[in-house]
Homo-oligomer: 147 residues x 2
């Protein structure tokens, strides 16, 4: 199974806040238009990003803003905020391996350290990319459009 599109949606949301935040009020309806995703889904993601302390959302008046310098928010922060995997565990394990089979009752001992290595590799790479990279490349591609 793939990782939920909540992750790419969240990055898209940040790119919109970067790009349009000074000019427009970035509301869930605005973001729904840009992403082509239902505004309720957007609001759920905004809620998760807010709970993680990455953005603030103005009740009443509306609009989302980022709370930190962009180079202080990594892809890993976003990935964790939107809960892409259950319990933070990337791999789903079969639930009830046999306890009467020697392999079955040891499969977790055998596999867990290796799975953690793979998961760490993923998370470490996520941690090397920040929203400042997104801002830089967004500006680059938008300016190329205007040539």
């Amino acid at each position: 199974m793939q990782i939920s599109s909540r992750f790419t949606l969240a990055i898209h949301i940040f790119a919109c806040i970067d790009t349009f935040g000074n000019e427009y009020k970035v509301t869930s309806d605005f973001l729904a238009g840009s992403t082509n995703v239902n505004p309720v889904i957007i609001r759920k993601i905004l809620g998760q990003l807010k709970a993680a302390g990455l953005i603030e959302v103005a009740r009443g008046t509306g609009g989302a803003t980022v709370t930190k310098p962009l180079d202080k928010i990594t892809f890993l922060d976003v990935y964790r905020a939107v809960e892409c995997v259950e319990n933070g565990e990337l791999f789903h394990f079969h639930e009830n391996p046999s306890t009467s089979c020697p392999v079955g009752r040891n499969i977790h001992h055998i596999l867990d350290d290796k799975i953690i290595r793979v998961q760490n590799a993923l998370e470490n790479e996520l941690a090397t990319i920040t929203l400042a990279d997104i801002k830089r490349d967004t500006e680059k591609y938008l300016s190329e459009e205007n040539k």
Copy 2:
């Protein structure tokens, strides 16, 4: 979403073939017992591993065997064989970003290279682990049980 348990099941299957292959015939029913997973699911995974050239399955007589030296089969081979992610793409993208929004129509340009970096990090780590590691650690934990 988590990665399908087909992956951990496949590793479990290889551990069983290593451990019991000399002594018993490793059939789908045997593996179903060890994993506590339905034999039809096991047969589907065996079919995927066979299609990838990693094992052979004897029709009629029954039983699965590995086709290569264990240190020549990596976790990445197994991961790809059991098709854990669609089209090999780890991250699910929202399908129809707006083409009338500058960010929407550039989001793939902005994000794709970064997502590929993360995916490569995962796959490179998967490639560093082989079934020989599984065999070694399986023997280790089974012998510790017999002390």
